[in-house]
Amino acid sequence: MKLRELAHSRTGDKGNISVISVIAWKPEDYPRLKAQVTADVVAKYFQGVVHGAVKRYEIPGIHALNFVMEDALGGGVTRSLAIDAHGKCLSYALLELELPDWEG
């Protein structure tokens, strides 16, 4: 199952930092997201794009995770050589993440 079946997502940027939210459509899927979409999983998924640390924050009231990815935007929005300097597309990249089966 892909992450997009359980969650929606939006990317923001600050300098060379990309911030991606992952919000469960249904609150009952939030424990699964917390268990399966860890900072390590996201760091590995974005290796080659993100060169710094990945931190995860939890916002339980809206059943959301927030990923803060450093050194992720080719030096920063104002100087990146990338076509998508803001990394706006990265949320839809993350939604393609394949999740393992879940017994929980």
Partner: protein, 441 residues
């Protein structure tokens, strides 16, 4: 409970204008904000101001103000905007001129200055992003502007301003200002100010909370995006926030659209740094009150860190770019061959670049390489150089692929641009103060 209605009129410098004018005419608003400054806008404005001392403000100011002035004639909504950019005084003077032309009398137009802190910079200040001293940026610094808080806006409104034009202020301050003025909140009422920051944060990107930057057909359908309605926040005296929009407009306000925008560009949700307070969104939850009406509960705030973040604009480098497309079942192979040719040509030409990026659009330009060969592939080459001449080589060499490269290369384009970048430093808040000047029409 007494509430105030604040509309959003722009979420970036070039945003649509009709939704804002519609909001002024039909929204029964008390205030409308226009957020128009991106990270490096002021540095670019400063360059413009060097050529013409009467310029340096948002290039759409005249276009917007003509329509706004016409609308507030019958619907006296107070307007708050950072369209002053690098020259709030000239922006206010221009607005006075336009108001006179429009035959409006008795209007007070305020400009808020004080954000220009170029004189306070010193070479040893550490750059927040790199930890290296500011002097590493060399002689190329163009501008330094502090993200001011709401104080100047509050003062302007106290002096009776109908239109407030600022330079750099923190985006949420455009909303915290009118809230503090309207409800008489003290600057130190951090719990309420934190909730005001949430309201500002939800309004500052305009259509992004009402269904813009959201649609995914079949999964997240949004009605009539061509006619997207901009948001209105109803804020209570205690800082409670309801986000809504006008009937008869496209888009939608749902818990999902609001939740995405709550976290947009927020790093640690417990510590969102603004000059007015450190806002805490970690305990928020949303509640759908009715169609296109969502309440957001649970935000708060605590004392700011005593620093203003300063955005330092500097002349950084040049970027040269070229693109060309290939079609067919061998499109990817031909685009890859084209990329190899370019790498060799840049060596032959002794092109001096510090960074080179060769992408296949349709394959790997946005994320990692897909294991496919689409029927359409577009080669994109971009390089960072110190000067214009080297940057120009990139596009010229891509264009030359028409006659010297793989078969069937089409639609070549080339560009080059001088890049102004930004770096950040902190300055203590006590060293900076907002100044308010009122001009009467």
């Amino acid at each position: 409970m007494h509430t105030v209605r604040i509309g959003s009129g722009a979420g970036y410098g070039g945003d649509r204008l009709e939704p804002a004018i519609d909001r002024i005419r039909r929204g029964e608003l008390d205030y409308i904000i226009f957020e128009c400054l991106a990270e490096r806008t002021i540095a670019l404005g400063q360059l413009e101001r060097r050529h013409d001392p009467k310029k340096g403000y948002n290039s759409l100011l005249e276009y917007r103000m003509r329509a706004i002035l016409d609308a507030i004639r019958e619907h006296p909504v107070k307007v708050i905007t950072n369209m002053g950019a690098a020259n709030p005084v000239a922006a206010a003077e221009k607005t006075v001129e336009l108001a006179k032309e429009a035959g409006l009398a008795g209007l007070k137009i305020a400009c808020v200055t004080g954000d220009d802190v170029l004189a306070l910079l010193s070479p040893e200040m550490p750059v927040l992003e790199t930890g290296k001293p500011l002097s590493d940026l060399g002689q190329s610094i163009l501008s330094a502007n502090a993200y001011l808080g709401a104080d100047g806006i509050v003062e302007a409104l106290k002096q009776g301003a109908d239109i407030v034009i600022t330079g750099r202020v923190a985006d949420p301050a455009l909303v915290v200002g009118p809230l503090r003025y309207h409800f008489g909140w003290a600057a130190e009422e951090y719990h309420r100010v934190g909730r005001g920051v949430l309201a500002g944060h939800l309004l500052e990107c305009a259509g992004q909370v009402t269904g813009g930057y959201f649609a995914d057909p079949g999964v997240k359908d949004v009605p009539e995006l061509w006619n997207l309605g901009f948001p209105i926040a109803e804020v209570g005296e205690d800082g409670s926030v309801v986000i809504t929009k006008l009937p008869g407009t496209g888009g939608m306000v749902t818990e999902a659209t609001v939740q995405e925008q709550i976290l947009y560009e927020i790093q640690d949700p417990a510590s969102y740094f603004t000059p007015d307070c450190i806002a805490d969104f970690s305990g928020v939850h949303t509640e759908q009150l009715g169609p296109d009406r969502v309440a957001v509960h649970g935000a708060t705030g605590r004392c700011h860190n005593g620093q203003f973040k300063v955005s330092v604009g500097y002349q950084d480098c040049w970027i040269g770019e070229g693109q060309i497309s290939y079609y067919g079942s061998t499109a990817r192979a031909r685009a890859e061959l084209a990329g190899e040719i370019i790498r060799k040509r840049l060596k032959v030409r002794n092109c001096a670049y510090t960074e080179l990026r060769v992408d296949l659009m349709g394959v790997d330009s946005l994320f990692t390489a897909a294991d496919t060969s689409p029927l359409e592939v577009r080669l994109r080459v971009a390089a960072r150089t110190a000067d214009r001449a080297n940057a120009a080589i990139i596009g010229d060499e891509v264009e030359a692929l028409y006659t010297n490269g793989p078969g069937g290369g089409g639609g070549a384009v080339k560009s080059l641009r001088e890049v102004v970048s930004v770096a950040s430093v902190f300055v203590p808040q006590e060293k900076v103060s907002a100044n308010v000047q009122i001009m009467e029409v």
